[in-house]
Amino acid sequence: MSCMRGAVLGLLFVALSSAAFAQEENPAIVVPPPTEGGVYKAAVQRFFDLGGSGEALDSVRAGIGDGLEYSSLFKVLSPQAYLSSDTSARLDGSPPLVCPDWRQIGADALVEGELSQSGKEATVEFRVWDVARCTKLLRKRYTGPPSDLPRIARRIADEIVGAFTGKPGVASTEIAFVSNRTGAPEVFIMNADGSDVRQGTHNRSINNFPGWSPDGNTIVYTSYREARRPFLFVLTRGTQSPGRVFRNLVPGAQQFRGVFDPSGAKLAVVISVDGNSDIWLVNRDGTGARRLTNERSLEVSPSFSPDGRRMAFVSDRSGSPQVYIMDLDGGSVRRLTYNGGYNTAPAWSPDGRWIAYESRVGGGFDLWLIDPEGATNHPLVENPRNDVSATWSPDSRKIAFSSDRRGRPSIYVVDAPTGTNLRQLTREGSSDTSPAWGPYVRELR
C-alpha cells in the first residue's frame, strides 16, 4: 500500500513539476530602438500600360519616386536591382506576387499599378505592398486630365508615406511665397518641392505675408495696391476676382497681416492705429471684431495653436521683441522666449509640439524651435546670414523658410525638428521671401 502511495505521489510530483516547467516562459528580448530613424526602401515599378503614353508612364513613375524621397522617409531602389519584372503586372488576375524577390533586394515597399489614358482623361490605379509582411497595404485609383498626372503621382507618394507611417507625406502640397522676379513683390505659389511656380497676384504694387485658409482654397495677403497703404486682400482658387476684405474693420487703420485660425471661420489681423499695432480677431465676413491686445507696445506676428485656443505672437512690451503666448479664452499672457534680445515670427507646428521662431544671434537671424511650455529650446538651422519666416508643412515634419545664405533670399526647406536634409526650392536670382506652407490638398477625383 505504501509503495503504491509512493508511486502515486511520485507521478503527481512529476506531473506537477513538468507542468510548472512548461509554464516557464523564455526570457523576453528587449530590442533597443534604432538610433537613427532609418528609411524605407521602395521599389516603384513602371505601371502596366492600358493605353497611356510612354512619357506618361515614365513621368508617373518618376513623380512617385521623387515624392517618396521628398519625404526623407523613403529611398527609391534602382530598377537595375530588381529580380522581378521592371513593369507592373495587371492588378487583377495576375499570378501572386513573389515577395522573396523583393525582400532579397531590400525593398520594404513595392508600388505597382496601371495607367490608362483616353483623350482628356487619364486614370491611374496603384497598389502598395508591405514586402516584409507580404501584405497589401493600399489600393487606390485617381482620375484627371493628363496634365494632372504629376500631381497625382506626388499624391500617390504621399499616400504611400501615410500607409507606412500613419501620416501622409506633403509632396502634393503647395507653398505660397513672395517674389520680385517679375519686378514688384508679388504672391507666387509653387509645389512643395519647388516645381511648377505660378504667379498669384499681378498688381505691380507691394504684396506680402500670404496666409492659407485651412481648406487650401484661399490665400489672404497684405497689399499696398489701394491708396498705397496696407490692407488685406484674398486670392481664391478658381475665381478671377481677388478682392479687398475687411473694408470697415477699423476705419482708416492699416491692416498689416491676416492669419486664418485653424477652423477657417476667423482671422487674426494685425491692425495699426496711429503707429501702434495690435492684434484683432475677426470673423471671416468682417463681423465680430475683437481686440486681443491693447498695449502701447507693438503686437504683431500672430500664430494660432492647432486647437485654435491659444496664440503665439510677438510683443516688445519688455523692451525688446519677444514671443508670447496668449490664451484666447481667458486672455492670460506669458512670455515664451528669453534667448538673445530679438525673437520674432513664431510659427506653431500643426501637431502642436513646437513653435519655430527667428532669433537674432550675432548679426543675423537663426531659426529656433521651442516647445509651447518653454522647456526645450534649440536651434533648427544656423548660419552667419539670415534664416527667417519659418512655416510648417502640414505633417509637421518639415519647415520652409527664407534665407540669404547664398546671396539673395531664396526659399529653403529642412526636416524638423532635426534640421537635416536642407534643400533649396527657388533659384531665380530674385528675392524670394515670406513662404507660407499650404494645407493638405483636397481629395483628388
Binding site: 502511495r5 502515486v8 505521489l9 516562459e25 523564455n26 526570457p27 523576453a28 528580448i29 528587449v30 530590442v31 533597443p32 530602438p33 534604432p34 538610433t35 537613427e36 530613424g37 532609418g38 528609411v39 524605407y40 522617409l73 525582400r103 520594404d108 508591405d130 516584409a132 509582411r133 507606412f164 507611417t165 500613419g166 506669458r334 512670455r335 515664451l336 522666449t337 528669453y338 534667448n339 538673445g340 509640439r353 516647445d371 511650455e373 518653454g374 522647456a375 529650446n377 534649440h378 536651434p379 544656423e382 515634419r397 525638428p417 532635426t418 534640421g419 537635416t420
Partner: protein, 248 residues
C-alpha cells in the same frame, strides 16, 4: 485520497521540521565561523570570470549590488542576483507652467547624428554597453547563470549561451527596425515563433499593443525582415519587447 493527502502533509511537516533544524544549525555554524575568521573584510574575492551583464534594456535594470554587509564566504557560489525592485511607475514630467529664464549662453546645437555604424562596430558598442568587451566571454564564465529580462517584467536567469543569443538577436532586429523619430512613449510586445533554424514561423502575434497601429506594424516588419534570426537555443515562442525610447 483524503487520508493520503493528510498523511503526505504530516510527512511533509516532519520533513520540514527536520530541514528547519538542520538549517538553523548550519546557519549558526556559519555565523560562528565568519565571526572568528581572521581574513574577513579585506578578502572579498573578485569572482573570476563572472560577468554581470545588463542585457535588460527596457525592464528596470538590476539594482546595484548592495555593499557587502558582512564578510563573504570564499566559495564560488552562483552569483546572487538581487531581485530587482518592481518597476517604478512611469514618471510624469511636469513641465513648468511659466517659462523659465534661460541662460544667456544657449545650449549647443544638438550634435550631428553619428555616421551609420557597421555591424561589427555596433556589436562591439552594444557589448561594451552591456559591460562585456570580450567577444567570447561566455566561454570563460564559470557561473552558469546570467540575468535577463523576464517576459512578465523583472529578470530571470539564463545560461550564458542563451544570454549571448539574446544579445545577437537584439542587434539583428535593431538593425532592421525603421522607426520615425518623433514617436515616443510607446511599447509593443510580440510573441514570435521561431523554428530550430531561427526562421520566424507565421506572423508574429501582438501580445501588447502600443496604441499606435503603425508603430506595431513597424516592429512586426522588423521581425519579419530579421528572419532568419540567429539559431535559437530552443525553438518555440519568444517574447520581444520594442520600447520607443532607449531605457535609462
Amino acid at each position: 485520497m483524503l487520508d493520503l493527502a493528510e498523511e503526505f502533509d504530516a510527512e511533509r511537516r516532519g520533513a520540514f521540521r527536520r530541514a528547519l533544524t538542520l538549517s538553523c544549525v548550519a546557519h549558526a555554524a556559519l555565523v560562528a565561523l565568519f565571526s572568528f575568521s581572521p581574513s574577513s573584510k579585506s578578502s572579498v574575492p573578485a569572482l573570476p570570470g563572472i560577468i554581470t551583464v545588463d542585457l535588460v534594456a527596457a525592464a528596470p535594470s538590476l539594482a546595484p549590488a548592495p555593499a557587502p554587509p558582512a564578510p563573504k564566504p570564499e566559495a564560488p557560489a552562483p552569483i546572487e542576483v538581487p531581485k530587482p525592485p518592481p518597476p517604478p511607475p512611469p514618471q510624469k514630467v511636469v513641465l513648468p507652467k511659466e517659462a523659465t529664464q534661460l541662460p544667456e549662453k544657449m545650449p549647443p546645437k544638438p550634435k550631428p547624428k553619428p555616421p551609420p555604424q557597421d555591424y561589427d562596430t555596433l556589436m562591439k558598442e552594444l557589448r561594451a554597453q552591456a559591460g562585456d568587451a570580450r567577444p567570447q566571454a561566455v566561454e570563460t564564465v564559470r557561473n552558469p547563470q546570467v540575468a535577463v529580462a523576464a517576459p512578465a517584467g523583472g529578470t530571470v536567469r539564463v545560461s550564458p549561451e542563451v544570454a549571448a543569443w539574446i544579445r545577437d538577436v537584439k542587434i539583428h532586429v535593431h538593425k532592421t527596425w525603421i522607426k520615425e523619430s518623433d514617436l515616443a512613449d510607446l511599447s509593443t510586445t510580440l510573441i514570435v515563433t521561431l523554428d530550430a533554424a531561427g526562421n520566424v514561423v507565421g506572423e508574429p502575434k501582438v501580445k501588447q499593443r502600443s496604441g499606435n497601429p503603425y508603430y506595431d506594424d513597424s516592429v512586426i516588419r522588423a521581425i519579419e525582415k530579421a528572419s532568419p534570426l540567429p539559431k535559437p537555443p530552443t525553438p518555440g515562442d519568444w517574447t520581444f519587447v520594442f520600447p520607443s525610447e532607449e531605457p535609462d
